[in-house]
């Protein structure tokens, strides 16, 4: 198995946002930026330019690869910190704590990788929201783990079969950079459409 068969950690976030978007990005290879995604890219470029260092009692490393053989996962960590033997991942996000909880899944997936790479249990991680400059703690509970593992299985199934999950129109569609490719309302509108004679 080569690296391209691994699931990227970012796919978790996309899948829980919208399985159809996940399919467009990772199966159909479509990606288009909008101002939200550009903001995010800029933020990550800043985050990812810093290296390893010590801050008083804390050891920090940025932009390192995470990988798990057990879950076939791969991805990049924004920031890993270690204080008094406790290690935890911190994921950077633009904006403030979102309406959707998919950020927690992403932190959990990073924790799963870290556990395998370091051989120790990770009990928590954080999401840092650039707009509010707040860190939000994410407890890696058994429930969250199970949710992440179930999502990973669904993604793995999606990548292997390539079967398109149908687009479903919700209010989150308005912020999606793939809205104009996806046209989630089309099926409904075509059904109701009466062509002029």
């Amino acid at each position: 198995m080569n690296n391209s068969d691994y699931i990227t950690i970012a796919a978790l976030n996309q899948y829980s946002y919208c399985p159809h978007r996940c399919w467009r990005m990772f199966c159909a290879g479509e990606f288009r930026d909008n101002h939200y995604t550009l903001d995010g890219t800029n933020l990550h470029e800043r985050v990812h330019t810093l290296g390893e260092g010590n801050r008083e009692e804390m050891w920090q490393v940025r932009a390192i690869w995470l990988k798990s053989e057990q879950y076939q996962l791969i991805g990049k960590a924004d920031l890993i910190e270690s204080v008094e033997g406790e290690v935890y991942p911190i994921e950077y996000k633009r904006g403030k704590k979102g309406e959707w909880d998919n950020d927690e899944l992403q932190v959990c997936a990073q924790a799963l990788c870290l556990e395998e790479m370091m051989g120790k249990t990770i009990e928590r991680g954080y999401v840092y929201y650039a707009q509010t400059r707040r860190r939000q703690a994410v407890e890696i509970t058994e429930e969250l783990r199970q949710e992440a593992i179930a999502t990973l299985e669904a993604i793995s199934n999606l990548l292997q079969t390539g079967t398109m999950p149908p687009p479903i129109y919700t209010k989150r569609c308005r912020g999606c950079s793939l809205f104009h490719q996806c046209l989630p309302q089309a099926a409904d509108k075509v059904k109701r459409y009466q062509e002029a004679s």
């Binding site: 159909a28 290879g29 398109m164 149908p166 687009p167 046209l183 099926a187 075509v190 062509e195 002029a196």
Partner: protein, 334 residues
């Protein structure tokens, strides 16, 4: 957003930072941000800097080469999208399949309905013209579309419908010095045919871009058979747009005397007719205005430009082929 047309021979197309600039005879003709450009069309000769080539490919901006009279030569094609699923569905429907028949009916129905609407509207506006025979004929052809079961017979209906419409075309012209006898191409030997051919050529460039963006293989069509180098699918999708985009703007240009008989030159021997360079620029401006004008998309129920509707129709076609929607709705305007 728009298309940059380069009509002056021996221009130099270069790039400074994020901007495209066009120079000729040491003079700057144009300087536009690349983010505002959707396509570049070169009519005639031009030098394109290597930096521009890379930038256009990276940004997925198509560059088309046309002759000074608007005949399509070819294009610099950005990488196809990675969406293999759309292309797979497109190929699976090739030939005499149910899906292919449905789409061909849709393209023809869209075109003929739009032809008929144009004639009915003219009929209401004026008392002297009589289009009754043609509109009746179009109606009759439209009703036999559903019961026609082979693509070849459908092509025959399309031809008959177009003939009925073009028999009325001369009566749609209300401007001294312009006549239309029949559709003549390669090369067009009268001004009206020259304008129609040029308009269709520009339209096919735009539709091909839309078809590429959606992820189709532009060379596999359903109504148009495969022929080397012919973007058949773009020509298929173009049918429904011919009357509402090109014919409408050509009639507008002629009837409002924006273009006059003095704007044409005729070649000796071949009798090929073409626009003077200045009139060509006028025509391109009219075409661009038409593309950027708004209307309410009958299916989506939202305002969009004709330019945007090219891509919307492409996306609806992809959705039909991938079984997301049960039918392809051609763009039929009231």
């Amino acid at each position: 957003m728009g298309t940059v047309y380069i009509t002056q021979d021996d221009c130099f197309i270069g790039k400074t930072d994020e901007r495209l600039n066009i120079r000729a005879n040491k003079q700057k003709l144009l300087d536009v941000p690349l983010i505002n450009i959707e396509g570049v069309v070169i009519m005639g000769r031009a030098t394109v800097s290597p930096a521009v080539v890379t930038e256009l490919l990276n940004r997925h901006i198509p560059l088309s080469f046309l002759t000074t009279t608007g005949r399509y030569l070819g294009r610099l094609e950005p990488e196809l999208t990675k969406n293999i699923f759309v292309r797979k569905a497109q190929w699976q429907a090739a030939g005499e399949t149910e899906k292919s028949l449905h789409l061909v009916r849709g393209f023809i129905r869209g075109k003929l309905k739009n032809y008929r609407t144009a004639l009915l509207r003219k009929q209401r506006e004026r008392t002297d013209g009589n289009f009754q025979t043609a509109t009746d004929r179009l109606k009759q052809i439209l009703s036999s579309l559903t019961s026609t079961a082979t693509i070849d017979s459908l092509r025959g209906l399309e031809g008959a419908g177009s003939a009925a419409y073009f028999q009325c075309f001369d009566a749609l012209i209300r401007s001294e010095g312009f006549r239309f006898e029949a559709r003549r191409r390669r090369p067009p030997t009268d001004p009206v045919n020259a304008l129609l051919s040029l308009g269709y050529s520009l339209l096919s460039h735009d539709i091909q871009s839309a078809v590429n963006i959606v992820g189709f293989d532009p060379y596999l069509g359903y109504l148009h058979v495969e022929r080397y180098g012919r973007p058949s699918l773009a020509l298929d999708l173009m049918e429904e747009f011919r009357p509402i985009v090109v014919d409408a703007m050509v009639l507008n240009a002629i009837n409002n005397r924006i273009i006059t008989p003095a704007d044409f030159t005729t070649e000796p021997i071949s009798n090929a007719v073409s626009l003077t360079p200045e009139a060509l620029r006028t025509f391109l401006r009219l075409y661009e205005q038409k593309k950027q004008s708004n209307f309410t998309h009958p299916v989506m129920g939202k305002k969009c430009t004709y330019q945007e509707s090219f891509e919307i129709q492409g996306r609806l076609m992809a959705k039909y082929l991938m079984e997301e929607i049960e039918q392809y709705p051609p763009l039929v305007l009231k």
